[in-house]
C-alpha cells in the first residue's frame, strides 16, 4: 500500500475509545507488544502497541500489566484481526495491592478471563466481574474468598455451574451438602451421589448461595470457612478444567508456589 493510501485508510477507520481490562501481552519484535484486552461492548480484542517495550513509551506507560483497568483508544484495520492501539491510559493497576502476596493471583484471574472471553463476542457481565475482582485485589478481602467467588461467577456466566438448590436426582433440598460431578452429573445430595464427584459440605453450599446473592463490593460480609475453601478450590478447579478442556497454567503455578512457600500467596 502506498503512503497516501495508508493515510487515507487511517482517516477512514474511526478511532474507538473504550474502557478495557488488560488480559496479557506478548513481545512482538524488539520494540512492540501484542496486547490482549477485554472490552465491555466488543468482547476480547488483540492489538499491536507500537514501541510499548521501550521505557520511553509514554503512550503505554504503566498500562499493560495484566488486570490493569484502562482507558484505551484503537482503530480496526480492514481484513486484519489485530487492531492498532493508539494509547493505553491506566485507571487502576493491580500493582497497587498493598499485600503483594495477592499478586500471584493477578495472572490467575487474567488467564481465566482470557480463556472464557471470546473474540468479537460482547460479554459485559464478564467484563464487570473482571473489573470488580481487579478492584478488590487492592482491598482487604481474603484472597481465597475472592478467588472462589470469582470462579463461581465465571462458571455461572459460562453456564456450567449446576443448580445447588435441589438434588439433581431426588429433587430434595440438600441440607447437609452433597457432591458435585464436573463430568456432567451435576449436583446431588449425599444419599444419591454415592462416591461420584467431589464433596461440597453444607458450609461450601452456603458460601455459594451467598455468593449468588452478593455483589462484589459486599463480599466482606460472606464467610468462607477453611474446609469449604478447600472443597470449592478442588471442585472449581475440576469444573474449569472440564469446561476449558485444559488445566490452567496459572492454577498449576499457584499450587506450586503455595506448596514451596506456604504464606507466599495467602492472606
Amino acid at each position: 500500500m502506498s503512503r497516501g493510501g495508508a493515510a487515507h485508510f487511517a482517516l477512514a477507520m474511526p478511532v474507538l475509545t473504550t474502557d478495557a481490562l488488560i488480559l496479557r501481552t506478548y513481545h512482538l519484535g524488539e520494540a512492540d507488544r501484542i496486547v490482549v484486552f477485554l472490552t465491555p461492548g466488543r468482547g476480547k480484542k488483540r492489538g499491536v502497541a507500537n514501541g510499548a517495550r521501550s521505557p520511553r513509551s509514554r503512550r503505554f506507560a504503566g498500562g499493560l500489566e495484566p488486570l490493569t483497568a484502562v482507558r484505551l483508544a484503537y482503530y480496526e484495520r480492514e481484513h486484519r484481526d489485530l487492531v492498532r492501539l493508539r494509547y493505553v491510559e491506566p485507571v487502576r493497576s493491580p500493582m497497587s495491592a498493598r499485600d503483594g502476596g495477592r499478586l500471584g493471583y493477578v495472572e490467575y484471574f487474567a488467564e481465566i478471563l482470557d480463556e472464557c472471553a471470546q473474540e468479537a463476542e460482547p460479554n459485559a457481565p464478564l467484563f464487570r466481574l473482571g473489573s470488580a475482582v481487579g478492584a478488590l485485589l487492592a482491598g482487604e478481602i481474603p484472597i481465597a474468598r475472592l478467588a472462589r467467588y470469582f470462579e463461581y461467577w465465571v462458571l455461572r456466566l459460562q453456564g456450567v455451574y449446576p443448580s445447588l438448590n435441589v438434588c439433581g436426582r431426588c429433587g430434595r433440598r440438600p441440607e447437609r451438602g452433597g457432591r458435585i460431578d464436573a463430568a456432567g452429573g451435576g449436583f446431588r445430595c449425599g444419599a444419591c451421589a454415592g462416591d461420584r464427584g467431589l464433596p461440597l459440605s453444607a458450609e461450601a453450599v452456603r458460601f455459594l448461595r451467598d455468593a449468588a446473592a452478593t455483589p462484589p463490593d459486599a463480599l466482606a460480609q460472606v464467610g468462607l470457612p477453611p474446609r469449604a475453601d478447600q472443597e470449592l478450590d478442588r471442585a472449581h478447579g475440576r469444573l474449569l478444567a472440564m469446561h476449558l478442556e485444559k488445566e490452567l497454567r496459572a492454577a498449576r503455578v499457584l499450587r506450586a508456589m503455595a506448596r514451596t512457600s506456604p504464606g507466599a500467596t495467602s492472606s
Binding site: P55, L64, E65, P94, G104, E107, A110, E111, A256, A264
Partner: protein
C-alpha cells in the same frame, strides 16, 4: 528477491533473528557475500564459540566463559551483599552503574502463572543454598517492576527472611511494566540506593 539458493538460505536464517525483517536480512546477506572470506569465517567462528564456550555459572547462574564466573571469583567483591535478578542482561544493567560491588544471583526468569513458569523452573534452590551458607547478610531483590517481578520478589522474601538475612527490594523509580534491561544508569543507581527492607 534473489533465487540463488545459498543466499536464500542465509537470508532465511538471518530473518529468524530478533528485529530483522525480510529487507534487512537480504541486505545483510548481500553484505556478507561481498565481505572478504576471512571476515565471514570470523563471524562463523564467533557464533560457534558462543554456543560452545558460554555456559551458566554453577554458583550464580550468570552467563560466563569460565565457571565459576568473574563475579563469583573476584576477591574485590563483597560476598555479604547478594543482588538477585531475573536475567543475565539485568546484571549488565546494574554493572553499568559502577556502584554495586556485591555478588549476583540470576534466577533465569520470574514466576509467571500465565506462562506456566513456577518456582521449580527458576534457580531458587541454588539461591537458598547460597544464602543458607551463612556468608550473606543482605539480599537485594532486583526483579523487574511488574506484576511478575513483584510477585517473585514477595515469594522470595518469604523464603529468605527465615534464614536470618536482611531482605530488601529496589525502589520503583522505573515505570511499572518496564524491563530493567532498558533502565539507564541514573535510574538503576537510584533504584539500588533507594531500596527498602521488605
Amino acid at each position: 528477491m534473489t533465487r540463488v539458493e545459498p543466499l536464500v538460505r542465509l537470508t532465511g536464517e538471518l530473518q529468524k533473528l530478533p528485529g530483522i525483517g525480510a529487507k534487512s536480512a537480504q541486505r545483510l546477506a548481500f553484505h556478507l557475500l561481498k565481505q572478504p572470506r576471512g571476515e565471514a569465517d570470523q563471524l562463523c567462528e564467533a557464533i560457534r564459540d558462543v554456543k560452545e564456550r558460554v555456559v551458566y555459572c554453577s554458583v550464580c547462574s550468570n552467563i560466563t566463559d569460565c565457571d565459576p564466573c568473574f563475579y563469583c571469583t573476584d576477591a574485590g567483591r563483597d560476598r555479604r551483599l547478594l543482588c538477585v535478578v531475573e536475567d543475565p542482561h539485568n546484571v549488565a544493567a546494574i554493572e553499568k552503574t559502577g556502584d554495586f560491588k556485591g555478588a549476583y544471583h540470576v534466577l533465569m526468569g520470574a514466576l509467571s502463572p500465565l506462562k506456566g513458569v513456577g518456582p521449580d523452573d527458576l534457580r531458587i534452590a541454588g539461591l537458598l543454598r547460597r544464602v543458607g551458607g551463612g556468608e550473606v547478610t543482605e539480599v537485594i531483590l532486583a526483579t523487574n517492576p511488574n506484576v511478575e517481578g513483584e510477585a517473585t520478589a514477595i515469594y522470595l522474601a518469604k523464603l529468605l527472611k527465615p534464614l536470618g538475612v536482611r531482605v530488601s527490594r529496589i525502589a520503583m523509580g522505573v515505570p511499572v511494566g518496564s524491563d530493567l534491561e532498558y533502565a539507564d544508569e541514573i535510574t538503576m543507581l537510584k533504584a539500588m540506593e533507594g531500596r527498602r527492607e521488605m
